[in-house]
């Protein structure tokens, strides 16, 4: 799926509408609408956020406030694969720092960045609740357990 930087016309807007409409009337459904948009676009495009605000009867500023509050929501374009490294204490003592370095070096980007080809975005995250097998990396929310720096090239090269 390509990274959508701008709304390129009616077609995509219709797409936003279709997604958002599923949640219309659902009390407090704004966060779910954001999730649904992200599932499709990997982030919440500006026009879509405006539509969400309208659909749920809140101001755009408030919708933006909500979208920027939660760390899994993004208002900036992100890659096809969102790689997240857990940095919380159990993963930290299991060597998360070394894995972070391995990922940065493999992807050639720093934490918080997206690769030029729009394929990967690398983020740090806090505990994802899989602490029985630390350190843990997730790729598009799928956890990978007991990750060592050496495994990183193999894991990431499997992302097509």
């Amino acid at each position: 799926m390509p990274v959508h930087t701008f709304c390129e016309g009616g077609e995509k807007m219709a797409n936003y509408v279709d997604i958002i409409e599923l949640y219309r009337g659902k009390k407090g459904g704004i966060i779910e609408a954001f999730h649904a948009l992200q599932n499709e676009f990997n982030y919440i495009p500006e026009e879509a956020l405006g539509l969400v605000a309208k659909t749920f009867g809140v101001s755009e500023a408030e919708a933006y406030g909500v979208a920027t509050f939660y760390s899994y929501l993004s208002v900036k374009p992100r890659g096809k694969y969102i790689v997240r490294m857990c940095e919380s204490a159990p993963c930290h003592i299991a060597g998360a720092d070394q894995v972070v370095k391995a990922i940065e070096s493999y992807l050639g980007i720093n934490v918080g960045e997206t690769t030029a080809d729009g394929k990967f975005t690398f983020e740090l995250c806090e505990c994802i609740g899989q602490c029985q097998a630390t350190p843990v990396v997730t790729i598009n929310s799928e956890p990978i357990f007991n990750v060592s720096p050496e495994q990183i090239p193999e894991i990431l090269s499997a992302c097509k």
């Binding site: 605000a53 809140v58 755009e60 500023a61 919708a63 933006y64 406030g65 920027t68 509050f69």
Partner: protein, 353 residues
Amino acid sequence: MISLTIDGKEVQVPKGTMLLEACRIAGADIPTLCYDPDLKLAGSCRMCVVEAKGRRNLLATCVTPAENGMEIHTESSDVIEARKIILELLLSRHKLECHTCESDGDCKLQDYCYRYGVADSRFDGEGPHFTKPDPNPFIMRDYDKCIMCTRCVRACDEITGALAINIKDRGHHAKISTAFDGNLADSTCVFCGQCIMVCPVGALTSKVSAGKGKPYQTEKVVTTCTYCGTGCTLALNVKGDKVVGVTSVRDIEKSPVNNGALCVKGRFGWDFINSDERLTTPLIRENGELRQASWDEALDYTASRLKGIKEKHGADSIAMFTSARVTNEENYLAQKFTRAVLGTNNVDHCARL
């Protein structure tokens, strides 16, 4: 009624009264930053905390209802310590430039730092980094001075209903923002300046008044707005016989129509008063051109012309347009002049336009 002790003084208050009010009744001066009597409670600045006997935590008085038998200490060492640390935490994210700040002298952060002797912050790490320029001619947004009390957000919502601003991001990085952190002019902002009115520090100030006078240098003259027919009460800020700004009075008794709320014209549209284009002398047309004249000359000339026309063509050949913008007293005199002096009822004004 319930009864509680505040700083050793017993007070009785109706059930449901917040501790802040109870403390006020007991004569205790509780510092507040996020509290605004007309806005929804936030309970977030924690400046108003007090100690209650038997409670592990300090209580934020603005959001804690008084309970029977409470024993409150408003200035215990723990309370003072907490307030000092909160002030220091705020100072460490606040650009300290009181010398050039528009709110110098009318700043709650300054007041409380003075009150608690907080000269500087022990937290000397990263300083404020929140401001970005917002090119609009009305509102200066300097979030390097923002203390995140969110009164502006609440005023924008609960007074004006413009909903232009909210909080973006979270934690220390949280900041007051329009959607996508854009400029006010591209948001639903109507530039009413209610946010300036409620800002307890210098984060939001008037660009039109910038540099023209500090709050303590200006006299506030309460009057009625000159624009639409709503009749909002406002205060002209005067320095050296010059109007340098407009503020408003957040008091439904003293500002009965608007309770301090204004619109962009009322709050920012006052500097025509000082315009270079103001007329400063009577003018008389001579050879097709307007020339300056003395008051005596202009009055005599006008009187004789009007008298001449009245004599020649009759009183009804003259008319007066009085004004929907001048005072009642002036309107009264205008129609009196028309009727009693000119001798006609040809008086009207632009009520219909």
